[in-house]
């Protein structure tokens, strides 16, 4: 049974360590504590590998849940550090000094969710959506179908025909 290390429990207000599997747990923390907590987990507790950073839009609660998935190679355990950031004017402290690939994740989150990371390198450069002017598309309120119908007009000449009627017209026009 894994427990929260004493130094982390003392220094930070953290939720319970939720065990998903023997090799996977998650930990809820306050957003303001994330950079220091990640640094401590990396330097003192062996979680040196950053697997990914992502956000889940909990629109009903008005928050984004940010997940930083870390991995400890020594004891083969992954730990998802989760924090909540308000959806309105979403801003999170940048952690790009901890891992070299972190700024790319932050750049992606800025583009796709609209979460800003002030000070993160190239955070305002487009990542996959060059020239995008709509709302960040990974937000739940972004409707892909509505966007598609609004942006791309239906091409004429693509209407379908009822196969039975069409064949009758072709083969037996006199019968109609």
């Amino acid at each position: 049974m894994r427990t929260i290390p004493a130094d982390i429990a003392e220094r930070f207000e953290v939720g319970p360590l939720v065990s998903k599997r023997a090799d996977l747990s998650t930990l809820d923390v306050d957003a303001k504590d994330v950079p220091e907590l990640l640094a401590r987990l990396r330097d003192r507790h062996g979680y040196r590998h950053l697997s990914f950073v992502t956000a889940t839009d909990q629109i009903e609660e008005g928050v984004f849940v940010l997940t930083y998935m870390l991995h400890n190679h020594a004891d083969n355990h992954s730990l998802g550090v989760k924090c909540r950031v308000g959806r309105e004017n979403a801003v999170m402290e940048s952690c790009h000094l901890l891992w070299e690939q972190m700024w790319t994740y932050q750049r992606e989150l800025k583009e796709l969710f609209g979460i800003d990371f002030p000070g993160s390198p190239r955070v305002d450069e487009s990542f996959v959506l060059e020239g995008w002017i709509d709302i960040p598309p990974m937000r739940r309120e972004f409707d892909t179908r509505e966007y598609s119908e609004r942006t791309f007009p239906t091409r004429p000449g693509r209407s379908t025909k009822d196969p039975a009627t069409h064949m009758k017209e072709k083969l037996y026009p006199e019968a109609l």
Partner: protein, 389 residues
Amino acid sequence: MFEGVKGFFPPPYDPKEPVDFGSGKFLKMWQGPQHPGITGNMSLELAIAGDTVYDCKTHVGYLHRGFEKLMERRLWMQNFPLVCRIAVPEPDFNEYCYAAAIEELAGVEVPEKAKWLRNLTLEMIRLASYLMWIGGQAGAFGHGTIIQWSATMRDYVLDLFEELSGGRIYHMYIIPGGVRSDLPEGWKAHALEVMDTIEKNLDDIELVMFHNAVFKLRAKGLGVIPKDWIDRYGITGPNARAAGFRRDLRKDQPYLVYDKLDFDYVTAEGSDAYDRAKVRLGEMYQAIDLIRQMLARMPSGGEFKTALPNPLHWKIPAGETYVKSECTRGEYGFYVVSDGSDKPRRVVVRGPSYTHAVSVMETLAKGQNIADVAGLMVSLHTYPPEIER
């Protein structure tokens, strides 16, 4: 002393020199998205002076299809035709990770036979993907023969997939609860025959490519990844193992039936393009060996799938999980969040190229000769759709 001509030659590479296009010394050059020396649909924005790369920026998004967003709008089972398309060379890792995540959240048990069949397909696609890669790696150094051999060998593996699943590229063979079918009659014998053919061809490839003076001269010392970068940049897979790291999810956190198979880490010490290629070649032989082991030890009978609820009304209990596997490029995982409904709340694909093709590539390219950029990128084995998914 006559010194006039020296002015035509670029000065030695100085990594601290700022790139100023107004100076007339630098030239911006795009490698990709349509370029034989690029892996997939991405591009590198290079700043060069003479033959030397001073700056590199990776651009992705040319093949962005919004998989993660699309998955939020579809039923759990409807996403199966989508997930395999995230990685053309190795769709089965997507199928496995997505299926395993659903099974974990829904508490679905997978029959033993299905685990063996899943494991078999994962090693087959590993071999097929490496065969595709080795052709690209050789081609990047001007070695056009290898791709002709390896593409043929890959096609033999795809033949096996076609017999097994009906599909050559996208198989949709691994489904929640198991796999779609058992091995067809006579398939085992055919598979063993194909493994013998590929093994013999790999011997030829090793001889022609790895003992080739040009390949050695160009790949040795190219793109050396220092050991302290492995954790700093989140490098996994053969790129980490070529730096001497004994890390392989198949050994460290065995899934499916890897704990019942005999194999070891394939590592090297040089951490350059040549050693990365040697590691991958070693893992191709290893994949053949694992396929033979599985065909010999796999239970002949038994169920290959578990009955599932009606997929049109299947609600997965609320929760979250992260399932990962060792693909040819490293850690490949699916982070899945369910809100208890019939559609995923969030699906995140973690591909190793995310760091290999962006942070690592952008750093390693600086100071390289422009002619080596393609070889360097292929040696990192990058694949853009898993970045822009």
